[in-house]
């Protein structure tokens, strides 16, 4: 065991599976597949590919967490689950990164996500055709439906018997969570009053025992890492299963370059403890999320690909999208106690589809969203929608009423725009790699959408009998930057995540999203990864790659 920077690295995970000596790796010179990033897509791919008998190596920049010893019921100290390395941000609406949207460590973002597990709707895959905005995906909902089914069964998603929106109406593999928190109850009652349907949220959180794991105990710290292991994460599910199937997981290893010869990749270079190593593989899959994947491609330029590897289209890094994720905090006459229970237990997609009468395209999900004191105080103090600050006596007195507040959060669709992009800056990080620059500005449709949502959240707070007092400006999730498409001129990968330029290079994860949808992305990320895994198994058996 090694301690550094407040993190304990538990090599015990590797007992019997891996030597701590990086020169004694299982597949150093002969891996079939090297996956960069052990997050939501990397875990699914590692397990499926290893199960199919392929030699899989997963390389992860962060630690291999041990929930019992590394996690805590504490907001401040658990920020370490996020990607804390400094990235530059720019644009009219510079993004908050780190714990807000980027995981670091085995499990990636699934370690600190709220577990909300939604499917995209049919319309999400064809916004250009239906609404004249964004772009169509090269796949349709029906292509992904069997993979949504499979992933939801595989991790025992809990959810309602009837889900009223989109193409999938339930039932979910596991029964709905009960009881739900006061905040979630109040949200559902307010929706009913205003004629909006609502449901108990479909969650990657257990409502009953499954696979040796217990149901949720409503501890409430999903964003800080689940300690009872009731919430799904790649860390406790897919990665350990992949290791059992023979995969090798190299944590605390930062990939710094993709190796290539002409239009073939041959492996990657990674750094561990100040030493540099090479990992060769027949296929490389980049699953390092929306910032690191384009960064790695742009940094791995060659004479053959002077503008970045696999970037003949010029679209690597472009059209990144967060979700608009404003919060409204409303003060109620009675106690709500936002800290209690799973943070998200109810939601509504009443405003999900385009309604021309609203004056904007596309839509959103509204979520009853718990909050702990650090998140609430920090947001209402320094991230107010009107740009003002709340501090001193006013902040202190507001927070003395902490238990009286309810909160609703938006997950709003943001349309793709090529100027919203990941590029390389002139600064270098500790590995000598260029620090990425992430530029983001809301466009007109995005602004109309979130303003509409704020209006609806205010109405819901009033329907609870409360006063909407604090509107917080925030974003959630990141998608795009290596979008899929059928035209190699305007997209980076095909519908399976395979690079148009380099047939043995794949990209998995939210990076390949064409549009953002108006729902939490993890289910779609994992379903796409399962689809890529199937395709890879097929072509690798034929030795077509």
């Amino acid at each position: 065991m090694k301690h550094e920077g407040g993190v304990t690295h538990h090599s015990v995970h590797y007992a019997g599976h891996r030597s701590n000596d990086m020169n004694q790796r299982k597949y150093a010179d002969e891996a079939d597949v090297c996956i960069v990033g052990a997050g939501a897509p990397g875990g699914v791919l590692a397990y499926d590919l290893a199960k199919a008998g392929l030699k899989v190596v997963v390389i992860e920049a962060g630690p291999f967490w041990d929930p019992q010893h590394d996690f805590a019921s504490d907001e401040l100290s658990m920020r370490k689950l996020g990607w804390q390395e400094t990235r530059l941000v720019d644009g009219q609406d510079p993004l908050r990164l780190g714990h807000n949207n980027s995981g670091r460590g085995v499990g990636g973002g699934t370690v600190h996500f709220t577990g909300v597990f939604l499917r995209f709707h049919e319309s999400d895959f064809m916004t250009r055709t239906l609404d004249g905005v964004g772009e169509d995906w090269p796949i349709r909902y029906q292509d992904l439906a069997p993979y949504y089914d499979r992933i939801e069964r595989e991790i025992a998603v809990s959810g309602p018997d009837h889900f009223p929106w989109g193409a999938f109406h339930g039932p979910y593999p596991y029964p709905v969570r009960e009881p739900i928190s006061a905040n979630a109850q109040l949200f559902r009652e307010a929706c009913a009053k205003l004629g909006m349907e609502s449901v108990v949220a479909p969650l990657a959180i257990l409502s009953g025992p499954f696979d040796g794991r217990p149901p949720c105990i409503n501890r409430g710290f999903c964003n800080q890492g689940c300690m009872p292991n009731a919430k799904y994460s790649g860390l406790i599910h897919h990665i350990p299963k992949a290791i059992q199937e023979g995969a090798e997981v190299l944590s605390d290893c930062m990939v710094t370059e993709i190796l290539s010869e002409g239009n073939r990749v041959t492996g990657v270079v990674f750094s561990h403890d100040g030493q540099t190593y090479r990992q060769r593989a027949r296929v490389v899959i980049l699953a390092g999320f929306v910032v690191e994947t384009p960064r790695l491609l742009l940094h791995s330029a060659t004479p053959h690909f002077p503008d970045g590897l696999a970037n003949s289209s010029g679209w690597v890094g472009k059209a990144i999208m967060p979700h608009s994720s404003h919060d409204v905090y409303g003060r109620l006459p009675e106690e709500v106690r936002l800290y209690k229970g799973t943070p998200v237990l109810s939601l509504s997609q009443h405003f999900y589809e385009t309604d021309p009468d609203r004056g904007f395209a596309r839509g959103y999900t509204l979520i009853a969203h718990g909050s702990r004191p650090v998140a609430m105080a920090g947001a209402i103090a320094a991230d107010r929608e009107d740009g003002s600050f709340l501090w001193g006596q006013k902040l202190r007195e507001t927070m003395l009423d902490y238990n009286l507040y309810a909160r609703i959060t938006l997950v709003g669709e943001v349309l793709p725009h090529p100027d919203n992009a990941v590029t390389l800056s002139g600064l270098k990080d500790e590995y000598g790699m260029p620090v990425p620059k992430v530029t983001f500005s809301y466009q007109e449709n995005d602004k109309k959408l979130y303003k509409h949502a704020i209006g609806q959240m205010n109405r819901l707070i009033e329907a609870m009998g409360g006063v909407p007092e604090h509107v917080v400006s925030d974003t959630a999730h990141l998608m795009g930057g290596c979008r899929m498409g059928s035209d190699p001129q305007t997209s980076v990968v095909n519908e399976y995540g395979q690079s148009h330029d380099i047939p043995n290079l794949f990209i998995a994860g939210a990076s390949t999203f064409v549009t953002s949808g108006g729902a939490n992305p993890t289910n779609t990320v994992m379903a796409l990864a399962a689809c890529t895994a199937d395709k890879l198994i097929e072509v690798m058996k034929r030795r077509d790659v």
């Binding site: 390395e85 400094t86 006061a182 800290y339 209690k340 007195e397 003395l400």
Partner: protein, 199 residues
């Protein structure tokens, strides 16, 4: 808005025997902060602590010492900032120049150091920073006062609302592993949670 705690008799730390060891250790260490600094000079630490007390409107030394120590540790740490806006100085320089700016602003307005100002004057200086209405132009040539104010406010508030005494003030139940929360629905509380006083 309340002037006083709704839960005057509640001490969340009394529940710590029911918490897991890792959480206990992290939260417990905040109750007994060290008074030694790696990044701040003694003068900067005193100034920082004074600024924090105005931002969070609290004068309890044990809480303010912890917040200042936390800021010092994060400034001394090699761990990154997650994000930094283009054109903004790296965090260490932002704090160093920003703190110097607070004193310069105090001198420009009142002719003395910030720490000896009256409370209302201290608030007025921070208000000027927050609104970008600074007078000590030289001191703010490299640092935007609004950026500095926002950064310090956010980070001071993050640490302040991580202290168990403040959790008790606001009736936050906090850590609940391994026991969890059982009574989560409207109007229900577990027996050990804070109960609002009748008055």
């Amino acid at each position: 808005m309340s002037k006083h705690s709704r839960y005057p008799g509640y001490d969340v730390w009394e529940e710590h025997p029911h918490w897991d060891d890792h959480t206990k250790k992290i939260v417990g260490s905040r109750r007994t902060p060290q008074v030694s600094y790696s990044f701040f000079s003694q003068g900067e630490a005193l100034l920082m602590q004074t600024v924090v007390s105005v931002l969070v409107n609290d004068h309890r030394l044990e809480v303010l010492t912890y917040v200042t120590q936390h800021l010092d540790e994060s400034l001394a740490s090699p761990i990154g900032e997650a994000q930094r806006k283009v054109g903004v100085l790296p965090k260490k320089q932002l704090y160093r120049k920003g703190l110097a700016g607070v004193d310069a602003e105090s001198h420009a307005r009142y002719g003395v150091d910030y720490v000896v100002l009256k409370k209302e004057e201290q608030q007025a200086v921070l208000q000027a920073l927050a609104e970008g209405e600074t007078k000590a132009a030289d001191a703010w040539s490299e640092v935007d006062s609004v950026t500095f104010f926002k950064r310090v406010l956010r980070e001071a508030v993050d640490a302040y609302y991580s202290h168990p005494l403040v959790w008790s003030d606001i009736g936050y139940g906090g850590p609940a592993y391994p026991r969890g929360y059982v009574r989560v629905e409207k109007g229900l509380t577990d027996p050990w949670e804070a109960k609002a006083s009748e008055t």
